[in-house]
Amino acid sequence: MSKITKSSTAEYFAKNLQQVGFSSPLKAVLTTLKEAVDNSLDACEQNGILPELSVEIKKVGNGSSRNTDLIQIVVEDNGPGIEPDDLAKVFGEYLASSKFGRGQCSRGQQGIGISAATTWAQLTNAKGAFVTTKTKKMRKAIHGQVDVDIKSNVGVLRNKETIDWNKDHGVKVSFKIDGRIQLNGDGGLITYLEGTVLVNPHLTLHYKLMDADWVHVERVTDTVPSVPEATLPHPHTFKLGEFITHATLFGKISLRKFLKTGFSRVSEQAISQFIEKGLPKNLLEKPITTLGDADFKKAFQAVQDSPLMAPSTKSVLTVGEESLSKSIQRLGEIDFFSVATRRPSICDFKPVVVEVALARFMNRGEGDTPVQLLRFANRVPLQFDKSGCAITRAIESVNWKTYGLQQPKNSLPLGPYVFAVSVVSPFIKFKNASKETIDASDELVDEIRRALIQAGQRLSRHIKKEFKEADLERKLQHIEQFGPILVEALVRITKSNDSRKKRAEEGLKKLLGRDSKDAEEELKIAESRLAEQKAKHAHIFGEEAAESEGSSEDEGEVNESPKKSKANAPKKKANKK
């Protein structure tokens, strides 16, 4: 990769935009939005700013290519802003990134995202990105148009002007591109925005899509997640080819130094182990630029054969159960939900953490359609190719019937639920370049499965209680409906008088009353189980739940809300801005 020249980089991407999410008019709009929003969130997070974003997407004309519309996408943030001198680079140059080098759980990773959007705008509408930026130091904002010079992979800033902007700092970027708009469904814009809202409880978002009114979603926490320090990859996660490529990033240093600084968990002691396992001592001090493939192979094999400490899990970050609980209620009115945040763990020698939120909504989804699945990798919604994804596999492998949900064999369960599963790791392995499916390794699928089971068990408390409620209601109804019919028919067949009828009616009432009392008892037990659970996690549900004190619970890491919980989160509301 390093030998590729700058000019070929821009050219390469211009010809292969489909690889990075611009494979159809629908995807082009979604990807442009996604790249801009990801960048805004990353920038805010890295600067400890609580993000407030506003997104506007509308049709402004006909597209230049067939079957497309000209779509305008505007994203504005309150982030640190971009230095005017960097504007052209950020929006017009590939592989220009502050997040470059791997190992952090940031959304952006490689410096391709926003330049690809600029290229698409340029290819379809002859104009790149329109950007306004202001940093804290600036009194006025800078506005201009950035184009990609595809031949040389440099950004060009045009029509630069200084303008007033009543904002301390931030970036506003606008693209006009050929595209088409899909709001709902797996690849929809609303699905993306809702997913983003869910895993970013600290985000305040205003959005207006097409002719709809502005929608305002308030943040439910005031803490900016702190993205952990970058971590180095663990050598056991590498294949030989990757190992050699990795070396090219480090220039002319010794193999010893490369091993120790290029990877985590490689100590002096580990190096002596490598020697024991057959790494020729003399190779260690040679510069890696002089090593041949055979040398790399020897080194690689010795490293693979040596037991190494598992990587540290400090580099992962979680949304957290409390925030997730509040955040999910921003997606609509819910009957009940459960969340589970696993402890960070190691899968395939990579630190990873899985979080799950399951919720049943009152006005969303239907009884006999599959649950709505929201997948996330490093808090970025994944919206395509769900079938081979580790998350989908894990959900399908769980027997949801035991938790009271309907589920066709080896499929997603059914019902008006949202299943949100988030995987965070500095080294997520995707199945393909467009980064839509997480590679389904056995260890990762197992870890996701454990999280799902935890959340599922808790969800079932709600479902059970509801089932008992329905059972009681049905029983009471039965008594009312069938009791009189039974007695009357018996009286007719036996030609009995009214006083016998009265006595039989009373006897029947007594009998069935006993039964419904049993059902009431069962309901009470189900209710108190649920109350115990809520009390244990009172911090999530506020005072309402804290009132009912209960004994402690079996497994620890799951939380839920009561039915129609008073969301401490402000509800989503729509009004004119």
């Binding site: 029983k475 039965h478 008594i479 409906q481 069938f482 009791g483 009189p484 019919i485 039974l486 007695v487 028919a489 018996l490 009286v491 007719r492 067949i493 036996t494 009995s496 016998r500 006595r503 039989a504 009616e505 009373e506 006897g507 029947l508 007594k510 009998l511 069935l512 039964d515 419904s516 059902a519």
Partner: protein, 387 residues
């Protein structure tokens, strides 16, 4: 209207019995005691087989339905339909199950408080009707509920049937006058009296009604002094009762000829010979224990070089019947009895070979001879080649 002919000498008086039951339920209720209804458990695990008796009889397992919030619906439905049946018995009206389903619907439509009783489809009302029969241990027909007459087309030159009609008058049918048209037995076989013009040699029951008709068209009953019946697949109550009647009233050997496969053996032949687990209380009058299995026998396949085909692994219905055959060998008292070892051996053979051979394959033996099948059948009877 005149009373219906009795189906059998019944020891109980149904209306009286039903009223006593209702009386018991009502007085239980008055005492806040839970009324209980008990019906014969009609399943294989409550079926017994005694070769001397010849058909499956019920053991003492019962299905108990005790009143509680969940069963109150079923009990209300039982009493509701029982009342309709008692009225039918009283006025001498008869109905099919489907008609009863609509009678229920009509009554429910007329009264708002009956609405919750409503049957979503006929399966629900059928289940209640069967339960009532099993509870009173009486035939559905004795409750004036009759099934459609299906199967059993019969030909003979020497059989005369006298049917006693509802109004007491009699109809006399001489089967020799019907040409190639069959006589169709009713599923009130007991209202029929049989007479023969001269002594008959045998009765032949063919699984396929079509093939029975072919034999008849080619002059089978002209050449042979016999009764020829087409069963028409799984024998209906009409067919079963009719064969029983022939066994009782005319003392001749009865042979069954059908496909060589697990389904025919278990569902068709076993039912004809010994009844079924689901009709435990009626097998006595609806099975003909003397019927023999003439073929197709495994030996015939070899002897006549009959075309057969392999049971497809992919065909779920054939797989199911093989699985059922295995269950039958393990659990069905009929196939477990030593007396029926010959039949069980056929099931075993079918399981092992996984082939099936159809009754019509006899037509392949000498394709130019239209009565080759007749010849083979006669030869087999003569040779004693049956089980």
């Amino acid at each position: 209207m005149a009373k219906l002919l009795k189906i059998r000498e019944l020891k109980i008086d149904i209306p009286k019995e039903a009223k006593a039951l209702a009386e018991q339920m009502l007085s239980d209720l008055e005492k806040s005691k839970r009324p209980v209804l008990e019906a014969v458990k009609t399943s294989l695990d409550n079926s017994f087989y005694e070769p001397k008796i010849g058909y499956l009889t019920p053991g003492d397992k019962v299905v108990r339905t005790e009143l509680n919030v969940s069963s109150v619906q079923k009990l209300a439905r039982v009493v509701f339909i029982l009342e309709i049946m008692l009225r039918n018995l009283d006025i001498g009206a008869v109905n099919t199950k489907r008609e009863l389903y609509y009678i229920c619907k009509g009554l429910i439509k007329g009264e708002k408080n009956l609405k919750p009783l409503d049957f979503e489809d006929q399966v629900e009302s059928d289940a209640i009707i069967d339960f009532i029969g099993d509870m009173l241990r009486v035939y559905r027909e004795e409750l004036n509920c009759f099934a459609n007459d299906r199967g059993g087309q019969t030909y003979s030159q020497n059989l005369i049937v006298t049917e006693t009609l509802l109004d007491g008058s009699k109809a006399v049918i001489d089967l020799s006058t019907l040409g190639t048209a069959p006589f169709q037995p009713k599923n009130k076989p007991q209202s029929l009296k049989l007479k023969i013009k001269k002594k008959l040699d045998f009765c032949l029951v063919i699984e396929s009604e079509g093939t029975a008709n072919t034999l008849q068209s080619m002059g089978f009953t002209k050449r042979n002094n016999c009764i020829l019946i087409g069963a028409g697949g799984v024998p209906s109550n009409g067919v079963r009762g009719w064969c029983k009647l022939i066994q009782e009233q005319i003392d001749i050997p009865i042979y069954f000829f059908g496909d060589l496969d697990a389904y025919t053996m278990q569902n068709i032949f076993r039912t004809l010979k010994a009844g079924s687990a689901s009709s435990l209380i009626r097998n006595a009058d609806f099975s003909a224990p003397s019927v023999r299995f003439l073929g197709v026998l495994p030996d015939d396949v070899k002897k006549y070089d009959l075309p057969y085909y392999n049971v497809k692994e992919s065909d779920p219905s054939e797989q199911r019947s093989l699985k059922k055959a295995k269950d039958a060998i393990e659990n069905d008292p009929f196939f477990q009895d030593k007396k029926n070892k010959g039949l069980t051996d056929i099931l075993r053979w079918l399981l092992k070979e996984k082939i099936r051979c159809e009754q019509q394959s006899l037509f392949s033996v000498d394709p130019k001879d239209p009565i080759k099948m007749e010849k083979i059948i006669l030869e087999k009877i003569k040779r004693g080649s049956y089980v």
